[in-house]
């Protein structure tokens, strides 16, 4: 029968294990966000923000090279590194240089399209230029320019565009740059002080993915090593260093703490049980892991890596059941395993109920974590109940006095101390501050911060930006939508924003402009012609000098095809704001406008939201605030619901007030201690604290249940020892995380240390004291 049991359960585990070998967990940051905010996260990914890489090259200070040598080294490094990176499939785009000739030729390329590029406001400026006094001034300047050393280079331009209408369009180049402090020097992107150059690009996958981030980092390091000249330093900014810093911090923490926790745990278990048999027994619950993961994957297409990791950790709760069963089975007294059924089932009920509350969360990772824990704990209990008695072996001798047998003198003192603790916790609870800022979980790294500061100071304004994305199946349609936003923003007085609209209007606006141009010159061309001829001859020009220009005023201008400006030479100027299809799930063109975020622009943009079809507006700062507010509300509700469910369950299951109080006493201690710790450490409480608090509540209620059942039903003297072993194991296993450098792991560890630390003595000393209070000896 034993053999059959083992074969049966082993086959189930093996089948599940084989099934999960084909599973690909998703490293999806979106799974940590509420469902209705994921659309915004996806938009951020579609804009390429999560894949952006910025590499600042600078010459190291205190070098003896002169300015010219430094610039040569910087140029060559930029070119070599840029070319190296271009070759890699890990990067979708790399920009490090613009062809100077393309910049020089831009006015010439745009000239035939001036009538479709110039807006009504530009026509008002033209009106001023063609008036007599101004016209005379401009033509005289043209005459002087043609006779100056720059006359050779400017002759063609002056003859074809004497009033410099191109300048009205080219001022739109400033809109592409916005407040970024980027200049062009010999085609390279340089800082104001000319001591740095910039290479930027986009990864083929989001850089919130650790594996991708590591590969890209390796690529950049190799590029810098091979292409960088001596004396050149490279700094990387963007999501990549943050992802790697977090990953590094977590790995460093786990590398140090996992062996420490494992050794400490093994040593403790060996010491407390006195037998090596405890080890195979304690691995039985973990056979539940493959089954739990398989069932989870049936309910969810994409299993989150984070949920998986957390879930496995929570599975460790089921080790408590294995400890109770093992110790009960090896107790010196008559085998009372059946007596353990009631507390085991009660403990299972409360643990599962705690996690069931998380199934109501709007965060996919929380729901997955909860389901994994529920299935895992349930199946682990079945495995433990069925299999541990078959391998526990013979009765074990009791080893000396254990912690569980230590009783403080005086129930009054114990109860008083406990009441004081709970009241203190209640007192500080309303004053606790919930820190919903998700950035507190970002592992800080001095080098990363230094590079971010350098980037802001050297290249950017450091402002948060609002993203407005015009999306459509074709570029022309997307540009039309973008134009509506452009004109709306100008009409509402917003001046500072980055947009392609001045240089790349959509077809609808181009046609309107062309019509406006035609109407403008219909009334004016004859008188202007005469005036120009007279003024130019007076100045020294031949009568027909500007004939090509005059003819162009009434020619029908062709529409500007946007693809003609997006060719290789000029693409670095446009690529940050124009995203071709294939990079978003809908396979659409995205045209972006970036608006500096402040209270004025926020309210203006909010009034535009929803008014323009095909336009999505995302304000990262506001979105982050909304997500944090939503998580805060939700986690507060869920934790209150957890407490309520536990209270209701224990009320239904135990009925007597004294018994209920005894069962809940450890939980009250745990919550009070966590509140006091948060209050005195002045760090406030965060999402991680509350998620682990739900687990601690489940654990501490279990201790209360076992302590109360044992006290009332006299199950076994092994139970207090089992409670102690379970609690200390949890303290060791989770508590070491309080030594972690990563803020999320630290929060996790400190919550368990504080909560379980006081829940254990409460279960062992206070719960019995409550049950015995007022009773005659």
């Amino acid at each position: 029968m034993t053999a059959v049991k083992w074969i049966f359960f082993f086959l189930i585990s093996l089948t599940a294990f084989i099934y999960i070998l084909g599973l690909k967990p998703a490293e999806d940051a979106g799974s940590l966000l509420p469902d209705d905010s994921r659309a915004h996260m996806e938009l951020l990914e579609e804009t390429g923000l999560t894949g952006k890489i910025f590499i600042s090259l600078q010459y190291r200070e205190n070098d003896s090279a002169n300015k010219s040598e430094r610039w040569s080294a910087l140029k060559e490094s930029t070119r070599n590194i840029g070319r190296f990176l271009e070759e890699s499939p890990l990067l979708r785009t790399v920009h490090y240089q613009v062809d100077q000739q393309d910049i020089l030729r831009l006015p010439e390329r745009l000239r035939p399209h001036l009538p479709v590029l110039l807006d009504p406001k530009d026509l008002r400026e033209i009106e001023k230029r063609i008036s007599s006094p101004r016209l005379r001034e401009i033509i005289r300047e043209d005459f002087q320019k043609l006779n100056s050393p720059s006359g050779l280079a400017l002759k063609e331009k002056i003859v074809r565009d004497p009033l410099d209408f191109s300048d009205l369009v080219l001022s739109g180049m400033e809109r592409l740059r916005g407040r970024m402090k980027i200049n062009l020097r010999e085609g390279y992107f340089t800082s104001d002080d000319k001591k740095s150059t910039l290479i930027w690009g986009e990864s083929s996958r989001p850089l919130t993915n650790t594996e991708q981030a590591a590969q890209v980092r390796e690529l950049i390091d190799e590029a810098v090593q091979q292409g960088g000249q001596s004396g050149i330093k490279a700094r990387i900014s963007g999501p990549l260093p943050h992802t790697l810093a977090n990953s590094r911090a977590i790995r460093a923490d786990l590398k140090m703490l996992l062996p420490l926790a494992t050794l400490a745990l093994l040593a403790f278990l060996l010491w407390s049980t006195g037998t090596l048999r405890v080890f195979p027994v304690l691995t039985v619950p973990f056979l539940a892991a493959p089954v739990a993961i398989s069932v989870l994957s049936l309910f969810h297409d994409r299993v989150s890596v984070m949920a998986l990791g957390f879930g496995i950790v929570l599975l460790g709760l089921s080790v408590d059941f294995a400890v109770h069963i093992f110790l009960q089975h090896t107790n010196s007294e008559k085998d009372n395993l059946q007596a353990l059924k009631k507390p085991l089932l009660l403990a299972w009920t409360t643990s599962v109920s705690c996690f069931a509350v998380l199934l109501l969360s709007s965060v996919p990772a929380h729901r997955q974590m909860a389901l994994l824990a529920i299935i895992g704990i349930s199946w682990a209990l079945v495995l433990a109940w069925q299999l541990i008695p078959t391998i526990s072996g013979s009765v074990l001798p009791q080893r000396g006095r254990s912690l569980s047998l230590i009783r403080p003198r005086g129930k009054v003192i114990v109860l008083s101390a406990w009441i004081l603790l709970v009241l203190s916790g209640l007192l500080v609870w309303p004053q606790l501050h919930y820190n919903g800022d998700l950035r507190t979980f970002d592992a800080s790294d001095p080098e990363v911060e230094e590079n971010e500061n350098f980037f802001r100071e050297r290249w950017g304004s450091g402002e948060e930006m609002i993203f407005a994305a015009a999306s459509a199946s074709s570029l022309k349609k997307a540009l039309d939508i973008n134009d509506r936003l452009y004109q709306d923003l100008l009409a509402r007085g917003v001046r500072e924003f980055r947009s392609v609209a001045p240089l790349l209007p959509g077809p609808a606006r181009q046609k309107r402009n062309r019509e406006n141009w035609r109407n403008f010159w219909e009334d004016r061309s004859q008188s202007f012609r005469e005036r120009l001829t007279r003024v130019s001859v007076d100045t020294g020009f031949a009568p027909g000098a500007f004939q090509p220009f005059l003819e162009s005023l009434t020619d029908r201008a062709p529409l500007l095809q946007p693809e003609s400006l997006l060719d290789q030479g000029l693409s670095p100027l446009f690529s940050p704001l124009i995203r071709p299809p294939g990079q978003d799930k809908d396979n659409k063109w995205l045209v972006l406008t970036l608006i500096p975020e402040n209270s004025q622009t926020n309210s203006l943009v909010n009034s535009i939201r929803g008014e323009i079809d095909g336009l999505t507006i995302l304000s990262p700062q506001s979105w982050r605030q909304e997500v944090e507010d939503q998580l805060r509300r939700e986690i507060r509700q869920l934790s209150l619901l957890t407490v309520l469910i536990i209270v209701c369950l224990t009320t239904v299951l135990f009925r007597s007030f004294r018994t209920i109080a005894a069962v809940l006493a450890p939980m009250a201690s745990a919550l009070a201690t966590m509140a006091l710790f948060a209050f005195f450490s002045a760090g406030g409480i965060n999402l991680m604290h509350i998620l682990m608090a739900i687990m601690v509540m489940g654990l501490s209620v279990d201790y209360g249940i076992f302590a109360v059942c044992n006290h009332t039903d006299r199950i076994s003297p092994a139970i207090p020892r089992a409670i102690a072993i379970c609690a200390v194991s949890s303290l060791i296993g989770f508590g070491v995380l309080a030594l972690a450098r990563h803020p999320a792991l630290y929060s996790l560890g400190i919550t368990v240390l504080a909560g379980i630390g006081l829940a254990l003595p409460t279960a062992l000393w206070v719960s019995p004291a409550i049950l015995e209070a007022g009773k005659k000896r």
Binding site: Q101, S150, R185, A545
Partner: protein
């Protein structure tokens, strides 16, 4: 007597003809270029007057401007028109300044202004004295007497603006006396230089500020 004189005169004319029209081979080009550079290397600063004639189709007649040129090698230049319309162009390393008679000043940076960078490049090409550096992108041929360099751009972009440049030098002294720039379509510009003053102390302020551009300032 008359017959002897006639033969002598014919002989002189033939010799003169031979010298005047002597084209050189490659070695001769390089020799002249080297001699010009050697001469230019002896000059740290120079000032001179210039006369510019612009023959453009868009002008109703040939336009003549006069002015003064000041150069402090290797990277400072002041090109000042004094008539008919005064104006100044200053190059100082990578920075530049343009001033008009109306008082308008415009600073520019050659690193970020590709048009002015092109202008500066052309000016230094013709005035630096180091024509050897042009050999990679221009074809250069020369004439020994009078010394003339004919420079033809080989790349299309420059050739679209300049067809040919002829620089004539004063014999023995080898200062440029004129520069003729031929443009596609028949336009041309001729610059004539005179009244050279070499290795004078030139004030730094001449290359930092336009000053009063209506005065004739020779650096003293």
């Amino acid at each position: 007597m008359h017959k002897t004189l006639l033969i002598f005169i014919i002989f002189l004319a033939l010799i003169n003809q031979a010298w005047a029209g002597t084209e050189t081979d490659g070695d001769g080009d390089r020799d002249l270029i080297a001699r010009i550079k050697a001469r230019a290397d002896q000059v740290d600063t120079f000032t001179c007057d210039f006369r510019q004639e612009r023959h453009l189709k868009v002008f109703s007649k040939t336009v003549v401007f006069k002015g003064r040129l000041l150069v402090d090698r290797p990277d400072k230049l002041r090109w000042e028109f004094t008539s008919p319309v005064p104006s100044v162009l200053i190059l100082n390393s990578n920075q530049g300044l343009r001033c008009s008679p109306e008082g308008r000043k415009r600073e520019f940076d050659l690193d970020s202004d590709p048009v002015m960078a092109q202008v500066a490049e052309q000016l230094w090409n013709w005035l630096s004295g180091n024509y050897k550096q042009l050999e990679s992108s221009y074809h250069i041929s020369s004439q020994i007497f009078p010394p003339v360099l004919t420079i033809t751009p080989e790349d299309q972009e420059t050739a679209a603006i300049i067809e040919e440049v002829r620089i004539q030098f004063k014999p023995r002294i080898l200062h440029p006396t004129s520069i003729t720039i031929l443009e596609p379509g028949g336009d041309r510009t001729r610059l004539s230089f005179s009244n050279y003053e070499l290795n004078q102390d030139l004030k730094d302020s001449l290359f930092l500020d336009c000053g009063d551009i209506s005065e004739d300032n020779d650096g003293s």
